[in-house]
Amino acid sequence: MELIESSTDGVTIMEPRGRMDTVGAKPFGDRVVELIRSGCRQMVIDLKHIQYISSAGFRALLIARKQSADTQGKLVLCGLSAEVRRLFEMSAFTEMFTICGTREEGLAKAK
């Protein structure tokens, strides 16, 4: 799992690349939690380089979502492929997140 981080107008953008599975979800989840703990309140997670997400990945996203809600932060997802979106729907995760098509839309939502 490769994690690419950047920042635009105070919004942190996290772009994971690789397999969002048991192995890959660990460094991803740990880093997102670390960022929120260290004060990040506006975050976009761009999933365009993720082909699939297993339950471990959903677990990491759920922990991040709960933590973001607890700190009144904004957490927005974008870049979901049709496949990843289908997995979100299967897991009933779609309605728990703010999901945008593009990174630009995500950035606007996270501000």
Binding site: R19, T22, V23, S54, S55, R59, A69, L87, S91, A92
Partner: protein, 140 residues
């Protein structure tokens, strides 16, 4: 072009990456649609990590066999291990209607297996357990 592959991995999480690579290699060789390869990768991540995390006491060395077979318009996926008996199909489905605050962390794995595969069965063979799954190519 091989239509069958078997991979044996130890019961530690390092084996999962080997399994995912093998699935992608098999999928490319068989020219399987990306959604089938992704579905097989998701269910194997669930099944193999379950076997590793719940099947063995700490320090006990085990072996997990993963088999992939192409049979016409079906892909057969098997996970066989020598861990303690556990029938994942007896796990009740998670309550997906719960709001964020009450949504439990976990419990999704078996749900994804049931939804991504067309057939799932669990049998005990001698001292080993075997999870058999079928994905139909036309059903994606």
């Amino acid at each position: 072009m091989s239509d069958f592959v078997e991979l044996r991995v130890a019961n530690d999480l390092a084996g999962l990456a080997q399994v995912a690579e093998r699935v992608e290699f098999f999928g490319a060789a068989q020219r399987l649609p990306a959604e089938v390869v992704n579905a097989v990768n998701v269910v194997l991540d669930e099944a193999v990590s379950n076997a590793i995390n719940h099947g063995y006491d700490a320090g006990v060395r085990g072996e997990i066999a993963v088999r992939l077979r192409r049979a016409g318009d079906r892909v057969l996926v098997e996970v066989e291990d020598d861990g303690r008996p556990f029938d994942p199909l007896q796990v009740p489905p998670p309550d997906l209607t719960l709001p964020l605050e009450q949504r439990p962390i976990g419990g999704l794995g078996i749900h994804l297996i049931r939804n991504l595969m067309d057939e799932v069965s669990y049998v005990r063979v001698g001292g080993r357990k075997l999870l058999k799954m079928v994905k139909r190519l036309a059903s994606t």
